[in-house]
């Protein structure tokens, strides 16, 4: 049992993250001071929140490439609402963000569930549609800090017990998803659908509907992040978070979520996001140009997916050894 935990992806990731922090701290001790670590956590919070939703989508053998566009569209709507009605209470804005995100996610989910269109095609399509809609509603204009109300931009930065609300929300969402996955029928259904869709049908699980709910959850989290993102950076425009969906997928793949579905853990996805977040924050400290970021996450995806395939293959029980060996070539 202990050996199994030690050999798990999560333990490996924790070790890698600890080694990474130790390596950075050996040259730049200020990096691991509590205040800076809080900064890193806060900075990584949007990635963690999105990775939670993406992890569930990937578990069900789907992929959601529209999360960043969803985030940007919801963010723009929130910002424009705030400009139009400055007195709107923050809880209401958050509710609107959650609801709108859920609707955008449900649109993906309906297309996958009812029409059986491959998720990659659906979300590549909605990715451009959502981005385009931002331009349509905003006319290409920016919403800047001075147009937003103080309470709107202040909310994610307000601190409770030394941690900004943004970080608290990431922690709360993480705990909620750990419970959903481990303790609810829906959570187990995500694994069943991804692990073996045919068997899932025979146990009474509606495969399409489960995938639909995964997209709704992913969209809801993207909507929430949309408001948080725009409020934190105090700016909304067409291109915010462009390409961020790849970082989210990278976090999941690094965290050991198998792209073929059915295997991986929420904790892994969280650790994957933290790993990327630490690298992103450490680059400028160590003196590497931020332009390296894209190539590093790309390389991390490729290495992690190669690693996942190796790890997954060794565990499989081989019945027809020769035939399987040939089929894999």
């Amino acid at each position: 049992m202990i050996l199994r935990i030690l050999k798990s992806r999560e333990a490996l990731l924790i070790a890698v993250i600890a080694a990474l922090l130790a390596l950075i701290a050996s040259r730049f001790p200020a990096f691991i001071e509590p205040t800076n670590l809080v900064n890193v956590l806060t900075d990584t919070s949007p990635l963690i929140i999105l990775a939670l939703g993406q992890a569930i989508v990937i578990l069900t053998r789907c992929i959601d490439l529209s999360v960043a566009a969803n985030l940007a569209l919801v963010g723009m709507v929130c910002a424009m609402l705030n400009v139009a009605v400055p007195g709107l209470p923050i809880p209401l804005i958050i509710l609107i963000a959650l609801g709108l995100g859920a609707i955008l996610g449900a649109f993906n989910g309906i297309l996958v569930w009812k029409l059986g269109i491959p998720p990659i095609v659906v979300t590549l399509g909605t990715l451009t549609i959502y981005r385009g809609l931002i331009f349509v509603i905003s006319d290409g204009a920016w919403v800047n800090a001075h147009e937003m109300s103080a309470s709107f931009t202040g909310f994610p930065r307000a601190e409770i017990l030394g941690l900004p609300i943004l970080a608290w929300l990431a922690i709360l969402a993480s705990i909620a998803f750990l419970i959903i996955i481990a303790r609810t029928p829906l959570g187990r259904a995500f694994y069943a659908v991804g692990g073996n869709p045919h068997a899932a049908v025979y146990t009474g699980i509606n495969v399409g509907k489960t995938q639909f709910w995964a997209f709704v959850l992913s969209g809801t989290l993207a909507g929430l992040t949309g408001y948080l993102w725009v409020a934190r950076y105090s700016v909304a425009y067409v291109d915010i978070a462009r390409g961020f969906e790849l970082e989210v997928v990278a976090a999941c793949v690094i965290g050991g979520i198998a792209i073929a579905g059915g295997a991986g853990s929420i904790l892994g996805a969280i650790l994957g996001a933290l790993f990327l977040g630490i690298i992103k924050n450490a680059l400028p400290v160590v003196g590497i140009s931020p332009f390296w970021q894209l190539a590093i996450s790309g390389a991390a995806i490729v290495i992690a997916v190669a690693f996942n395939a190796r790890a997954g293959r060794a565990k499989g029980r081989v019945i027809l050894k020769r035939a399987e060996a040939e089929a894999l070539t």
Binding site: V121, I129, V305
Partner: protein
């Protein structure tokens, strides 16, 4: 597979063949309808030089779409093509400091494309990894390398003879790019529909395990297809760089989506196993005519992208909705 296969090279079954034929005819009708609508909507549309300019909207993308069509028929996908363009263009720009000849420049572009294709192919076939994730990874990796090399800078100062590949004309209004597009269309048509290799591509897409047990070297064919896709991205990089006369890390950003849309619009099944090159050619014209027409009507590019995204989903959704209503 019996001898009827020879007389109907596009599909294995007769009813499917009919449906597919009608798809191409439908697409052609759509293309003609768009052409006529455009010529009524804008007085500038029916002009030989304007139409010639319009072909630049799709020629480079279509070159990649041909190879991508084969790859998707075989059940794989390459989302890194636009990033390969960026990397190949960056490699050509980087080599400018050594004052290369035009031939060397072209070879560097094509070679980079081939290398990137080989990298994707090796990961997918060698390690047996899913191509969607691998190419999402290499999509960031290849463009990431461009960013590392270029940062927020760019390369300019390509030799003037080099611009022929993007701006030159072969005869009257026929640009070099359009001639190359037409030649490649014929080559890929022959490759997919008239050769043994093309048959194996369909076989792999329909049933990889069956193909393997029929003596087809599945991994090798897939590797070749990734190489071809990389090479075509290299060709497109040469044309695009020559046309723009400069290289930036954001070059061809988001093209992978338009190329996949073009292939799917052309009737290629996204799950593999069926599709044709004539379909992709007509789809290229449809997309080119639409973007050109919308451009003449002053519709901004990002709004056109809504249209392309809707097209991608609609093209797959409509036949399924139709089938659901009948069945």
């Amino acid at each position: 597979m019996n001898e009827t296969v020879r007389s109907i090279p596009d599909r294995l079954e007769n009813p499917a063949l009919k449906a597919f034929k009608s798809w191409e005819t439908l697409l052609l009708a759509v293309a003609i309808a768009i052409f006529i609508t455009n010529s009524f909507l804008s007085p500038y549309f029916l002009n030989a030089w304007n139409l010639s300019d319009a072909t630049f909207n799709f020629t480079e993308k279509a070159m990649i779409a041909f190879a991508m069509a084969l790859l998707i028929v075989a059940g794989e996908i390459d989302l890194s093509v636009a990033s390969i363009i960026a990397l190949a263009s960056t490699a050509m720009g980087w080599s400018l400091q050594f004052d290369p000849s035009v031939v060397t420049l072209v070879l560097i572009g094509l070679g980079t494309g081939l290398l990137c294709g080989a990298f994707n192919g090796a990961l997918v076939t060698g390690l047996g990894l899913p191509s969607i994730v691998v190419t999402i990874g290499t999509m960031s990796l290849f463009r990431g390398i461009s960013y590392i090399v270029l940062g927020d800078q760019g390369y300019r100062g390509y030799p003037s003879e080099f611009s022929f590949f993007g701006q030159g004309y072969v005869w009257w209004v026929i640009s070099f790019e359009f001639a190359l597009f037409a030649a490649l269309a014929v080559i890929y048509y022959v490759l997919l529909h008239r050769t043994n290799f093309g048959r194996t591509v369909y076989a792999i897409g329909n049933n990889p395990t069956g193909a393997l047990f029929s003596g087809i070297r599945v991994a090798r064919v897939k590797f070749i297809l990734f190489l071809l896709t990389g090479l075509m991205a290299g060709v497109a990089a040469v044309c695009l760089t020559a046309r723009l006369g400069s290289t930036r890390p954001t070059i061809a950003l988001g093209w992978e989506l338009e190329i996949v849309t073009m292939v799917v619009l052309g009737g290629v099944n996204i799950l593999g196993g069926s599709g044709s090159i004539p379909g992709v050619v007509i789809a290229a014209f449809v997309m080119g005519l639409v973007t050109f027409g919308l451009g003449l009507l002053n519709v901004p590019g990002i709004v056109m992208s809504i249209f392309i995204g809707a097209l991608l989903i609609g093209v797959i959704a409509l036949p399924r909705l139709w089938a659901m209503r009948r069945g």
